[in-house]
Amino acid sequence: MTPNPKRVTSSRTSRYATALTAALLLLTTACSGGGSHDDPAVKSGDLVSSMPKATGEIDTLNWNLPGEPETLDPANTVTYSSGPVVHTLCDGLMTAEPDFSLKPNLATYEVESPTKVVYTVRDDATFWDGTPVTAEDVAYTLNRTAQPEYVLSYIFANMKSADVTGPNEVTVTFSQPDELFLNEMQNVGIVQKAYTEKAGDKLGTASGGLMCSGPYEFDSWSPGNSLTITRNDDYWNPDVRPLAKTVKFSFIGDATALAQALNTGEIDGAYEIPASAVPALQKSTTGTLTFGPSMQGMNINIVTPDGPTADNDVRQALQKVLDRDAIAKVVFHGAATPNYAVVTPATWPVAQKDIYQPAYDKLTEERAYDVQAAKELVDGSTYDGTPIVLAIQAGDETSSQVAQLLQQQAKSVGLNVEIKTMQPLVFSQAGYDASKRAGVDMMIQTNFNGTADPLEPIGFDYLPGQAYNYTNYDDPTTTDLINQARQTFDADERAKLIVKIQERYEADAATIPVVSTNTVTFLNDAYTGAVTSFAYWSMPAFAYVGAK
Amino acid sequence: MTVPNPNAATGLDGDQPLLEIRRLGIELTDYLPPRVLVQDVSLTVRAGESVGLVGESGSGKSMTIKAAMRLLPDNANVSGDINFDGRSVDKLSRSELAAYRSGDVAMIHQDPRSHTNPMRTVGEFLIEGVVATRQMKKSDANDKAVALLAEMGIGDAGRRMKQYPHQLSGGLLQRVMIAASLMNEPRLIFADEPTTALDVTVQSEVMAILMEQIQDRDLGMLFVTHDLDLAAAVTDTLVVMYAGTVVERGRAEDVYIHPRHPYTAALLASRPSTTQVRRLVSIPGRPATAYEVGDGCAFAARCPFATEQCRSTRPPLRPVDDSQVACHRSEELAAVLKEAASA
């Protein structure tokens, strides 16, 4: 779960991802029916993971990032802006496919014991300067990234050591088993030891540069203006043949300006198109808007155990008073799908879909927009008119609009919702520090269920003492069931347990799911090949874009 | 100052007057109906003659000389004739007007400080007129300016030329102004209260310098002032104005000793005496402006001798003895007025 929507703090994928995408496709089809508006909304069948393969070369690909990357240091790469750039420049030990599946990249690995993994670094990989990628470099990168000053250090929380144990061998030992670590290796770009040590603190800045082994090389960065990367013609991996000679990134964060630039063809493409730019770009004759699968979503979380929202009737009323279809259409212009459960359909392992589906359908029905029912719930509750404070992050247009809609709809059933705008930093802090959210009853947060293992968010949110268990939810039965599920390795059995758990905590209704969002990509019609699922973030995404 | 200058009375007679103003009327057109400021004013200045134009503020005297230089703002409508040397000033072409202003006449203003550009040096000010109108070369003009300053009794003229107006005292600056007016060798000088804004201590000195120059060069002068004593002392002829019209005109000593109009007498009576300490006799009431007065005599409202006739019929300017007076009762009041004026 990531409170700050501008930021992707984790990007965990799973081997179930392929299946997942399929599930997501089916599901969104099921959910997007209904609604009287003839908005040119995305039919969920349109969710696309990648465009047809490109064949033609391009001189310069002009691409927009949602903001200027703060740094290109792989150890600090966590934002929408830096992710795709860094992962195009720097290979990880693993890499992703558009369907979220993982495959070995710079190394293969062998799990020798639950607390010991051995990576074998391939011997033909070279850095941009032609020197080989060695085990030394890999071990250096892992140990460097593990330093607490780097944002990605949390990945290494359980790592005891990473040592060179053979010519091409790096052995990683753990203080406790950590399956996620293996997956995260796609997100840790390997840097050259010699260059990195020399660059010191300047690594990944405009002046410090980088030395990696990816299909593109860092070229130039003029802060405030543009960032340019050029093709690495000696790229070691024959399977990846980049088509654009250079990629030039602009940093437009403003929706209006971005839509205009894309419309006029001044910029060829962009990921993470803001919702408000969607209607204008859907009409574009210059390029095409593509909606791709993603596991992100928006939730309204009740963040205090006290106050008016302590009453379950109030919570249930809020669930019913939220017109999720309208929000998906009006606020997200179709770039999102209504969502009714904490464990979004996108995170279901596809084989267990039949187990999850009935429970989800039940929730859908229970939480359908129903003003009359909500009003009855409020009337029968202890609610006395105290304002319910809903916090949103300043400058986040979609959150603001959702909040305003909820406020209006809540008013019609007698709930007095007050919107409180928090500065981004304060909002982020409030996400993990209870003292910073005193007086706040609910927060609109962007939810990132990156893993297809539903247990992960459940563990974060509903075990006593966890940072994100905002309402101090403490149900011994639920705790038991979670522990039970964690030890159950039969997928079906596990799924059944999770559904039971879900039934318990969803009855508590401390999270009001709003929508699951899609990755929105715009690409000029002259080009194709782009990865359009959120997997783009962990991939050398720009190596695939080329002329038709 | 109160002693009349015996040399002042020269050349009363001549063939053609240098400046002749006939039935001058001035009104402001941005009012509806237009506001009359000056009405039916006639006067002449002969070559070498000094004429004093006397009256309170608002009597229209400054407007009259501005009209004579064609310096009135666009919103002022002028009627009547103003002739200089037989030519109508109003009909001068642009270049003729420039030649008239730069060659024939010159003007000395009341407040020299506001009439000089504070950003230009004294020297630049002095020579600009003649240089800009191509009457003189710059170096010649410089020499002449230095010479004139010296004549004005300004020591260290070379240094003064490089100074700015704010570095000069008022009296000094007015002398510069006088020098400037003489640069182009004019035939007629308009002097608009040239000493009023100065310190009392330097007034007479500046006046003396001005008169000396006027007499040395035998120039005509139209001297505007509210100070009847001063005017009588330095001019040959006096024209007294009230509310935009001429109420009395005559030889300076006649008017000064034998005022024929109650207003002139009242002006004389209200001047402070230099020999006696006594309360000032002020003229009752407020000075009127031309557009405020009705059909009768403009002064009727303040005149102790006013009759019904005065209030209903405007008295024309008519000869009484050697002067011309606009008063119905001038003759019968002659003795009273003389008595009042010298009291």
């Binding site: 209006t256 603001s400 406020q407 304060v426 | 000075p287």
Partner: protein, 284 residues
């Protein structure tokens, strides 16, 4: 002597008569906007906060004269409701800074000497700090909202009054009658409030009227940047910002309506202030 110096050019007097029409018209517009600010929510054809997602982003129609915004709210109703916030913001700024500025000016003028010189120095420093910068920083410190920019701009506008009022207060304090009152044993407080303040207040008033326009613009600019009033409050600067995404889809109504409201109000107040101050003879 005479009250009217006719020898001078008479244009100001002549001009006054015709431009008084401007005074009346601008005053009427100001009054109208003020009325809308007070009663706008009552007069509005639709509830300004009422969302209607089925009718979002509509063009002008009989029901919605200027169409609806992205959440289906009636634009003209929001503009009317927004008048109140914009007006209140500018009003607080102007009143607060007028009070502080005038007090400071009279204090400085009355005490003179080093007090005056130092106050003047501080005012000069304050003049060197751009208002929008202070307002933006204030939002960072107090959090975005209504009060942060109001407080910041109030402080920023103080020198705007203080400078003008001070010079006329200094003139006033040097008047002989003040010395007379002082010699007569009248207290400083009484002289300052009863005499000096009374005589400088017309200038302060004219200054306030002119300041109102700039205060309105600055306040709206902070909202435009997203650092002032927050949604769902209707405010003109916020509406201009809100409508930006719809400009691209060829529906600029929201931005334009709110922008026009700002411009008309500011023009009216500027003209009114200008006429007032030239009547007082303190024309800039």
């Amino acid at each position: 002597m005479s009250a009217i110096a006719l020898d001078n050019t008479t244009t100001p007097a002549g001009a006054r008569r015709s431009k008084d029409k401007l005074l009346v018209v601008s005053g009427a517009v100001c009054l109208l906007v003020a009325l809308v600010a007070v009663f706008g929510t009552v007069l509005a054809p639709h509830p300004p906060d009422q969302t209607d997602v089925l009718n979002a982003s509509l063009g002008p129609s009989a029901d919605h004269w200027f169409g609806t915004d992205g959440l289906g709210r009636d634009i003209i109703s929001r503009a009317m409701a927004g008048a109140r916030v914009s007006f209140a913001g500018a009003g607080f700024i102007v009143l607060g800074s007028a009070f502080l500025g005038t007090t400071l000016a009279i204090f400085a003028a009355w005490n003179g000497g080093w007090v005056d010189r130092n106050i003047n120095r501080v005012l000069n420093v304050m003049f060197a700090v751009p208002g929008i910068l202070v307002a933006v920083l204030a939002s960072a410190i107090f959090g975005a909202g209504f009060w942060a920019p109001v407080i910041a701009l109030t402080i920023v506008y103080v020198p705007f009054y203080a400078r003008v009022v001070r010079s006329s207060a200094v003139r006033e304090c040097k008047m002989p009658y003040i010395e007379g009152l002082e010699l007569a044993g009248v207290s400083s407080w009484r002289i300052c409030t009863r005499h000096v303040l009374r005589n400088v207040s017309p200038i302060a008033l004219a200054q306030a009227t002119i300041a109102f326009g700039s205060a309105l613009v600055d306040f709206a600019a902070v909202s435009f940047l997203g650092l002032g009033v927050q949604p769902p409050q209707a405010e003109w600067g916020l509406m201009v910002a809100d409508g930006r995404s719809e400009i691209l889809s060829g529906a600029p109504q929201q931005s334009l309506v709110a922008g026009a409201c700002i411009v008309v109000t500011v023009v009216a107040f500027n003209v009114l202030g200008d006429r007032l101050s030239s009547r007082i003879g303190a024309d800039r």
